[in-house]
């Protein structure tokens, strides 16, 4: 046995050997690793600590570099740590700090080892233990070792002391009660003349104050002194960081430090310190104009520095200052714009941010133009950054800054055509959103949509499919403002649409359906008009004439009237050859429209589009030709929609062709049928779609017997064998409908609908087996109106709640910023009362370590002598279960304490006190009692709610702790 140990010892590979092996790479890396681990597993069991420690060293190396798990060796780590030899100890400690964590069970075993090493006379052993403790400290370790670390805080060896200071931060985080013991000594270290110790202490306070600045306000004088006296850049930077946190809480502090900060900024040669000064000024001293001016001049220097790091930071600081001092950005406008073409991606992004910050409603068009030009020249990634930020900025607050929607819609069209554009979804959402919200933009929208769908080249671009989907929807939905429905129909049915994904293609088909219905309706109406203009006594005759179309057996009057219509149709509106001449016509129509400003009237478009029977028949034939093959499409969306359209077409066709050889009476009836059908479809599509409130779904009553809370995961098992298409639903409404349709119980049938038809037998089987059925058909009465689905919740919303009127007008920007050169008023943008956009939830960072700040405050306010009755169970408290304790330590309290006593006439925007005030009964600080007298007079001066509440609570406050307090911020500072 001993022999094998010797052999192992002689032939064991050291870490260096291992590394050499890796470099030689005779076998593959993974083979080498598994071999080494195997070796280590054997060696680490050795009783010889030399062998064990070397094995452990190799294992730590493999773990850190190659990600090999070493948690299995935890006990061996403890063994090696406890070796009396320093070399072993070092390996053990390093392995521990690398692999131990809260969940490591052997952690319980090392407390004594750590304590022994922390009190070792050898400073390097102490250092090892401290380093390890900083990484693996747990609540238990912190509690048990606080006294040892405390002793080290005043060690005479700087080497040990500074490390103890670094470690104390981690101890505080885990075990806030340590503050009571160690805080004073930590503050003393802050004042130490040794710069290493001061660096460490300031670093700790910087970390502490970043989490809960309010508690450290009382230390402001110490920090101020450091700011004035210190010559160490590291210390100064950290001090500035602390002040950046403290100054917003105490306005007079800002006044006090602004001068030394400016001095530093001007004098220092260190760029890092200078930049920190600049950052401090722009983030928290931005109301001190003179300081901001100095800072901005410094930023100006940074912006033209050859070092890209400084340029980047300069731009960064500029975007910090932009919200409050936009002039600073405008002053540096040229540099910013120039930076857009910098080779550094960071700089480009930052300058893009700044450019977007400059956007206002007066310059949005110009800036967008510049940016789109940049986008064309940039690499794909940055191009999309640019497009993305244009889209976000312009759509902010429901298109707040957009006045000319025609321009914006054209811009969207233009952006879609940028080769690298990958913002399809965003553009899709906005096209539809604008269509729904801005009535006046629809004309241009349809125009843009037409240009997009008509271009066969665009169909091949995958990134454009979403945009095309929106364009197709727009032209279908708002076809009444289209210049030429026939060419739209051609575009929607063009052969290359087979390149589209099924979900988009379904939208295409459905849009063509809408257009068809519109054309038929117009045709009927047009002829109705003709009839009435002819003053015909019998409406039925007129009707039959219109349906019979070209039959020359009709009265001469009618024929003469019909004649010119025919001509027009033959010239320009035959669907087969409309492509060439339609362009010209569209332009004409446009011109007419712009002159008359008559944008939506159906009558006008009726006049321009002469719907004759011939053109309609052509249209029907075209649809039949194109869609017939789709009636057997494997995708259910396409199939459904194609069949819908086809059967409708067949119905109409049958009616039309039949009536040629019928007598007048039957014609009359048939005709009435056609118009009834068309009327029905028209009504189905005529409902205006609007934005849907996020809460709409919540207002829809849940049908009886529907269990919404049922776990739908079960569906996966049931639908397991059903093949779902990747794009399972055609949520045309984009994000605005997302919530509604997602949460909707109607999702369930929709999922099933997507199943291909040929599996319908198995589906039936499924339903039988699992008892799953489509939901009650109450909403499916209008069979053709199932698209788009969110329409339904919206209708219900309107019915259910009158107060949620959809059409809230948003003309406020007009009244606010009317510009003289504004030729046309901003169109109405529909907004919802209760917000139809996803609310940006402003999460206030909850102070996590309430108990820590509470402890700090206790120490700073001099109440550490108090019997720790409320903290009798430390582990309880730090784990956050003791609610009363937590709430009683809320920072708002110190605010009240400090402010209440020191600055009675300072208005405090203290938001937190409102929320947490009611918890504060347990521990009222004596300050309150002292204040009691001042209250009456102060109350007259200001009627702040807070103080009223404050006073009201006074009665219930119990004098739990009665330690006397000193003013926390000495007057000299304020």
């Amino acid at each position: 046995m001993a022999g094998s140990s010797i052999m192992d010892n002689l032939f064991q590979r050291t870490l260096e050997d291992l590394i050499k092996g890796f470099r030689l790479q005779l076998v593959g890396e993974s083979a080498l690793i598994s071999k080494a681990v195997e070796e280590i597993r054997r060696e680490i069991k050795s009783t010889d600590l030399d062998i064990k420690s070397i094995a452990l060293q190799k294992l730590s190396y493999l773990s850190a570099i190659y990600g090999i798990d070493m948690s299995w060796a935890a006990f061996h780590v403890v063994e090696v740590m406890s070796s009396s030899r320093f070399a072993h100890k070092k390996i053990g400690y390093r392995a521990a700090s690398q692999s131990f964590h809260e969940g490591t069970s052997v952690l319980l075993l090392i407390t004594n080892q750590l304590r022994k090493d922390l009190s070792s006379p050898n400073e390097f052993e102490v250092s090892l233990a401290l380093e390890c403790l900083s990484r693996i400290v747990t609540i238990d370790l912190a509690r048990d070792l606080t006294p040892d670390v405390f002793t080290l805080l005043s060690s005479s060896k700087v080497f040990v002391r500074k490390k103890a200071i670094g470690v104390i931060l981690r101890v505080f985080e885990k075990y806030p009660d340590a503050v009571r013991v160690c805080f004073k000594r930590l503050v003393e270290n802050l004042e130490n003349s040794d710069s290493q110790i001061a660096t460490a202490a300031v670093g700790v306070f910087c970390e502490l104050s970043s989490k809960d600045p309010r508690s450290y306000l009382p230390l402001a004088p110490e920090f101020y002194r450091i700011l004035i006296d210190s010559r160490n850049n590291w210390v100064l930077i950290k001090t500035l960081k602390i002040f950046a946190k403290l100054a917003p809480l105490e306005p007079r502090l800002g006044k006090r430090i602004v001068e030394p900060v400016c001095e530093l900024m001007k004098k220092t040669g260190a760029k890092s310190l200078m930049f920190e000064c600049v950052r401090t000024v722009v983030t928290c001293l931005s109301n001190h104009e003179s300081a901001v001016k100095v800072a901005i001049s410094k930023i100006g220097e940074l912006l033209v520095d050859p070092d890209p790091n400084l340029r980047f930071l300069g731009l960064h600081a500029l975007s910090d200052v932009a919200p409050t001092h936009l002039w600073a950005v405008l002053e540096n406008q040229e540099v910013v714009i120039k930076s857009l073409s910098d080779e550094d991606p960071n700089i480009k992004l930052e300058s893009l941010c700044l450019v977007m910050a400059m956007v206002s409603e007066s310059n949005v068009a110009d800036i967008s133009k510049v940016l789109v030009n940049y986008a064309l020249k940039s690499d794909p990634e940055f191009c999309n950054e640019i497009l993305g930020s244009i889209l976000t900025t312009c759509s902010r607050n429901v298109y707040e800054i957009i006045i000319d929607f025609d321009w914006y819609v054209s811009l969207l069209g233009e952006m879609s055509r940028i080769p690298n554009c990958q913002k399809g979804e965003e553009i899709e959402a906005q096209l539809i959103d604008i269509g729904m919200r801005v009535k006046d933009a629809r004309l241009q929208l349809v125009q843009v949509g037409r240009d997009l769908v008509i271009d066969p080249a665009l169909l091949g671009n995958v990134h454009l499919h979403r945009i095309l989907c929106a364009a197709a929807w727009v032209v279908g939905e708002y076809v009444e403002v289209a210049s030429n429905p026939f060419e739209l129909m051609d575009a929607l049915l063009q052969p290359r649409t087979n390149l589209l994904p099924p979900s988009v293609r379904a939208v295409y088909i459905h849009s063509s359906f809408k257009i068809l219905v519109f054309c038929l309706d117009c045709c009927l109406m047009q002829n109705q008009e003709h009839v009435s203009s002819l003053d015909s006594s019998n409406l039925a005759v007129g009707y039959s004439g219109l349906v019979a179309g070209k039959k020359h057996t009709e009265t001469r009057d009618f024929a003469s009237c019909e004649g010119p219509t025919h001509d027009a149709q033959n010239e320009g509106f035959s669907p087969q050859n409309s492509m060439d001449s339609s362009e010209q016509l569209a332009v004409q129509n446009n011109a007419v429209r712009i002159v008359t400003q008559d944008q939506t009237s159906i009558a006008t478009s009726l006049e321009k589009n002469n719907f004759t029977l011939e053109s309609i028949v052509g249209l029907l034939n075209l649809i039949e030709l194109v869609l017939s093959p789709l009636a057997a499409n494997p995708d259910v969306e396409i199939l459904e929609r194609a069949r819908n359209v086809l059967s409708f077409v067949q119905l109409i066709k049958a009616e039309i062709s039949d009536n040629s050889n019928q007598n007048v009476d039957i014609l009359d009836k048939k005709d009435a049928q056609v118009s009834a059908i068309v009327k029905l479809m028209c009504d189905a599509f005529s409902d205006e779609l609007g934005p849907v409130s996020l809460n709409a779904q919540g207002r829809v009553a849940v049908p009886d017997g529907l269990v919404l809370n049922e776990n739908l995961d079960d569906l996966n098992a049931i639908c397991g064998d059903i093949e779902l298409p990747s794009s399972s639903s055609f949520s045309i409404g984009g994000p605005h409908f997302g919530t509604t349709s997602d949460a909707s119980p109607f999702n369930l049938p929709k999922k099933e609908e997507t199943e291909p038809l040929n599996e319908s037998a198995s589906l039936l089987e499924h339903r039988k087996r699992h008892g799953l059925y489509y939901l009650p058909s109450e909403k499916n009465e209008i069979t053709y109106d199932d698209y788009p689905p969110p329409n339904d919740p919206q209708k219900k919303t309107n019915l259910n709640d009158e107060s949620e009127d959809l059409s809230k007008l948003a003309g406020q920007s007009l009244s606010l910023k009317k510009r003289p050169n504004q030729t046309k008023p901003r169109p109405v943008v529909v907004k919802l009362d209760d917000g139809d956009v996803v609310p940006i939830s402003v999460k206030k960072p909850e102070p996590r370590d309430d108990s820590l700040s509470g402890a700090v405050r206790d120490v700073l306010l001099g109440s550490e002598a108090k019997p720790s009755s409320s903290q009798s169970n430390p582990s309880d408290k730090s784990s956050g279960t003791d609610k009363k304790n937590l709430s009683s330590y809320h920072p708002s309290e110190i605010k009240e304490n400090v402010i209440g006593a020191e600055m009675p006439d300072q208005a405090n925007p203290n938001r937190k006190s409102k929320h947490h005030g009611r918890h504060k009964e347990r521990r009222r600080s004596p300050r309150k009692t002292i204040e009691g007298g001042e209250h009456d007079q102060r109350e007259n001066k200001k009627s702040s709610h807070r103080h009223n509440r404050h006073k009201a609570r006074q009665g219930s406050s119990s004098p739990l702790n009665v330690a006397p307090q000193t003013p926390v911020i000495p007057d000299f500072l304020l």
Partner: protein, 166 residues
């Protein structure tokens, strides 16, 4: 606070990885890969900052420096100054240079443990404690002496006792 220090070579092989908060090894490896994929796509002569929020989480920043075949990467939060961190990388590299006399990747590879010792002198628990390379070197030299001493003291008795025990 500094969250992690990484040294990678230009092929993406980690040469040193030190995390100041516990992370499972798989996460560490993933992070190293992510960092490298960002770094290797960056051109020379561009700024040394990388947006690390996507890599490391909220409020994370990353600075790196490229020396010969190595990337030195520091990941930290808003309590540190970016330029100061760049300086710190400089301090670290200078210290290595002094320790190994003209440091190259091979030194870093073979002196894994010494690299750690050096780093531990500069940073403890994510806090920067020492910014002077002379101080660091002083400590490191003493540390190696102690290590060597502890080895030599024990070498004789152990082997002798080993023989005797047989």
């Amino acid at each position: 606070m500094i969250k992690a220090v990484l040294v990678l070579n230009t092929q993406g092989k980690p040469r040193l990885a030190k995390f100041y908060e516990f992370r499972p090894v798989e996460k560490q490896q993933e992070l190293i890969r992510n960092v490298f994929s960002v770094l290797c796509s960056r051109a020379e002569n561009v700024s040394n900052f990388v947006d690390a929020e996507s890599i490391y989480g909220q409020d994370a920043r990353l600075v790196y420096k490229h020396f010969a075949t190595l990337y030195f990467v520091f990941i930290f939060d808003s309590s540190e100054n970016e330029l100061a961190m760049l300086d710190l990388i400089q301090v670290f590299v200078e210290t290595l240079d002094k320790c190994f006399r003209n440091v190259c990747e091979l030194d870093v590879v073979y002196n894994y443990s010494k690299m750690h010792s050096i780093l531990d002198e500069i940073i403890i628990g994510g806090q920067v404690l020492e910014t002077s390379s002379t101080e660091v070197i002083k400590a490191i030299e003493e540390l190696s002496r102690l290590e060597a001493a502890s080895n030599s003291i024990n070498l004789v008795p152990k082997s002798v006792s080993g023989w005797r025990a047989r």
